[in-house]
Symmetry: D3
Subunit: 209 residues, 6 copies
Amino acid sequence: MKIVLSIIFLSLFSLSHASVVDFCVADFTAPNGPAGYSCKNPAHVTANDFAYSGLATAGNTSNIIKAAVTPAFDAQFPGVNGLGISAARLDLAPDGVIPLHTHPGASELLVVVEGQICAGFVDSGNNVYLKTLEKGDIMVFPQGLLHFQINSGNSQALAFVSFSSANPGLQILDFALFKSDFPTELITQTTFIDAAVVKKLKAVLGGSG
Amino acid sequence: MKIVLSIIFLSLFSLSHASVVDFCVADFTAPNGPAGYSCKNPAHVTANDFAYSGLATAGNTSNIIKAAVTPAFDAQFPGVNGLGISAARLDLAPDGVIPLHTHPGASELLVVVEGQICAGFVDSGNNVYLKTLEKGDIMVFPQGLLHFQINSGNSQALAFVSFSSANPGLQILDFALFKSDFPTELITQTTFIDAAVVKKLKAVLGGSG
Amino acid sequence: MKIVLSIIFLSLFSLSHASVVDFCVADFTAPNGPAGYSCKNPAHVTANDFAYSGLATAGNTSNIIKAAVTPAFDAQFPGVNGLGISAARLDLAPDGVIPLHTHPGASELLVVVEGQICAGFVDSGNNVYLKTLEKGDIMVFPQGLLHFQINSGNSQALAFVSFSSANPGLQILDFALFKSDFPTELITQTTFIDAAVVKKLKAVLGGSG
Amino acid sequence: MKIVLSIIFLSLFSLSHASVVDFCVADFTAPNGPAGYSCKNPAHVTANDFAYSGLATAGNTSNIIKAAVTPAFDAQFPGVNGLGISAARLDLAPDGVIPLHTHPGASELLVVVEGQICAGFVDSGNNVYLKTLEKGDIMVFPQGLLHFQINSGNSQALAFVSFSSANPGLQILDFALFKSDFPTELITQTTFIDAAVVKKLKAVLGGSG
Amino acid sequence: MKIVLSIIFLSLFSLSHASVVDFCVADFTAPNGPAGYSCKNPAHVTANDFAYSGLATAGNTSNIIKAAVTPAFDAQFPGVNGLGISAARLDLAPDGVIPLHTHPGASELLVVVEGQICAGFVDSGNNVYLKTLEKGDIMVFPQGLLHFQINSGNSQALAFVSFSSANPGLQILDFALFKSDFPTELITQTTFIDAAVVKKLKAVLGGSG
Amino acid sequence: MKIVLSIIFLSLFSLSHASVVDFCVADFTAPNGPAGYSCKNPAHVTANDFAYSGLATAGNTSNIIKAAVTPAFDAQFPGVNGLGISAARLDLAPDGVIPLHTHPGASELLVVVEGQICAGFVDSGNNVYLKTLEKGDIMVFPQGLLHFQINSGNSQALAFVSFSSANPGLQILDFALFKSDFPTELITQTTFIDAAVVKKLKAVLGGSG
């Protein structure tokens, strides 16, 4: 019985080339395209491709923002390639801040695992949505909108966030303006922020122009 | 200056009807469609619509599987409607098991927050991918494939999972077969499981037929 | 007139490289990605790429399930690559059964061409939907849900099915559990099926572990 | 055991409102939107919603084209709403013709069930792809391209076609030009077909203007 | 001949309810959803629904930014609902500036119709892309990234922009920060901009908090 | 401060391989796939990749249709690859005509920049939508439907069109029929246009068969 059953279904799987089936673990050595990275040869895929330990260690928060973002996007975690999901870890020491930023290609869902976090976003109508989240609370940040997270408690805070894309992107407002070579004159023209303020922040963050 | 600037942009926002902008918080009282629920009137949307506390409390694991799944899909958390993401909380007491199941409409990403979890999935080629995950580890389960989670440690385990859809669906294999009115004769014909086994499991889980 | 008209439109088509236009016949020798296979050079595409005769011959039903599934997914029929559609042929001898299975990546539409077929699926709420279909009847199986087809008549049955993806995937429940190396202990833990039953079915279907 | 198991999962399904789960059978009495019709109340959905007998009867081919198209789009078959798939039946008497047409919103896959069919399509580069298909052969027509089917055998021909959308649309070239109120002057200007020819075909097909 | 031909195809169009066909003109009086507004009754749709004159008149640039943005999103131009495209008109007097902003839900393509425009955007890697565009030049701004347009010539500039969504959204950085009730303390914490600067810009733009 | 801040975020960008971030400029030398061309190495991308001057020059309208279409699809303008948008320029001398055509893969939005244009399309129900557009007016043509543009004024007309895809395709009806090798007999059978008319137009446009 075993042999006969196998025969009938063998035709489904005895193909002469690797089939695109169920998943597409990223192969960083082949070309990528608008939908993500090329797929690793399925014959070489193992369980290890679908798990990632890079978020198990706390990020180093001994810095000016007293916070750390550790991404597990497709570029770090090849198993999520093409699956429409990815993750990151947020560590916030007391007074830690994840500065105002956007994810151009995804909505974000945050879950607080330790501590207390004040989070917020602004919509296209300039409405501000603020929440103080306790352990176990979740919050969603719609795609592409400016948002932030602040440790509003007295102890270390830890959150995991997930994204509706394997490649959400991350544009940190201050870095876009003040850690880039965005010409100061253009920044002042397009933001109304004084040149002196721009130059000061560029000096701190490493921008030029 | 303030007045003039406002005037020029006023035209953008002085619309006579509510615009579909940035998000679509679910309105459970209006019709839903293939893309999700109708949108709540934006004028009534507040920060509370984007946060959810339903995952902050541990699920009750005093049951036969010693585990609990608490969903935060669009039906529970209206803020995720239309955003392509949702979440759930998994509580597993020692020996706790989330039985074999699929999410027909989404891939899943799991992060272990407490304890140790053995998780796995099977692909279309009948390959089994198993991983033992420690605190902070993440794992992804490609869309629609059978998968499970087991507490493989000695203490309570806690995980948060997120999905690539606001409405991932959840089909628990045992419930589909043995907690439904799926006729026993059809189950035996389509699974090769003996009628006696089917009847026994139906008696336990509450199935009929 | 002919010459002038040609001149004006020539600019549209005198490109120095092959354009992605209208279709993307699979090139199995190039990398594939999350959206499908790379495209065959359009200059080499012919009408033969868009037709397939692999479903013209009845599958061999001289086996334990008295049935055969013959796929025309992108891996067999390169013309459907990227077009969001594919097909398969179902042959069912009297008493033939297509065992319980899912397509993780597509909805399915079946049309009965010969004989009588009893088909059904189970949804996330454990509701079972059963229909007996006569020649010419069609039925749809929503994406990712467990479903089956049985020859419920006295003669050979033939059906053609189509899918809402060029690569729907196919997970046969019994094969996932009993024709794989899914450890018996994990199967019993995650399905409540006795180890003895699991071992017996593994022996029949060729599973290990 | 039965009771306890039920309790733990009850929280998943004891929602106070109908959830968008797994499918969205069309409710023609509620508003429709870009993604399809509103969903019928899941509590009223039965197996009958997922099956359709409208393609079981041969279309009437006693007409000038000696052919008939019988659609099973979402408007006829509410079960396919939102599932990205639909179907139609083609009956072609000897010499029957399905005139040149497009489906603006879907690719099409045809399977010949009886007789012989000559089918073809034209791409953006004005390349013509022609195939003569025998019983059991399949052919795919990429989205939006002009295509046709002709009975090229001596007997009645029957084909079933499926589409990569629940609402593929159908634009028959001759009807768009000659069964509409498209002003004759504009037709001649935009097609180079003589006014006399246009008027003659309008007289036959019922066009005006 | 005319009558018979009509009969055979009548079955396609003699449906008892309005079908979702080809387009979905927005009905602002019915519920909207994640995919856009509900569809206007097709029987009431006319050519006027697909055209819009709101961009024919120059916006008023007698203001502090010497510029005006006039949108033709689905909320203004109901014909684009569900079609994945929309538009806007940019008028820039000499020295006019469209301040730094994002479209959370769409990529943008700009064409210069009059004058000279300097445009730029910043990517997730803090790279700045700047171009000076002359009449007839086009430029694309990838989805969700900060960008701006400045009149870099000596005369009035006019540009038309289109978007890859009927509802691209528009988040103007300065308005999000300084024309909202975003608490000053949170702005300083999440942007490193001094409170004094924040307060000054809020006074100008009308922000509170 | 500058150094420390940089350190904490460095982990985000110190990846060992180029990440798919924000955009995917087409690399015409690598394979393409269903979602578009492969991505150019981000390290080599400059502002020039996102701008295009090919639409700045008027097309040559000294031809039989007194019109010209100049495309800026992904094949001409690699910066739009994967961004879901593209453009084209329409030049129409007095009496100029863009013949009846479809874009199989995109909706189109037209803006009149100079002159007066009469445009129209036909839907699946054979309804014709006609509008005379003045300077600054916009019109949308739903995906895949037959449409045209005619200079209805006394002077040169100029329009820019954009598409909801980087690769909309372009099927010109007359070219598909009469500039191809579509056999005359099949054309007459599938369009009811007399063979003599077909042959005459083929002679003009260069068709064979």
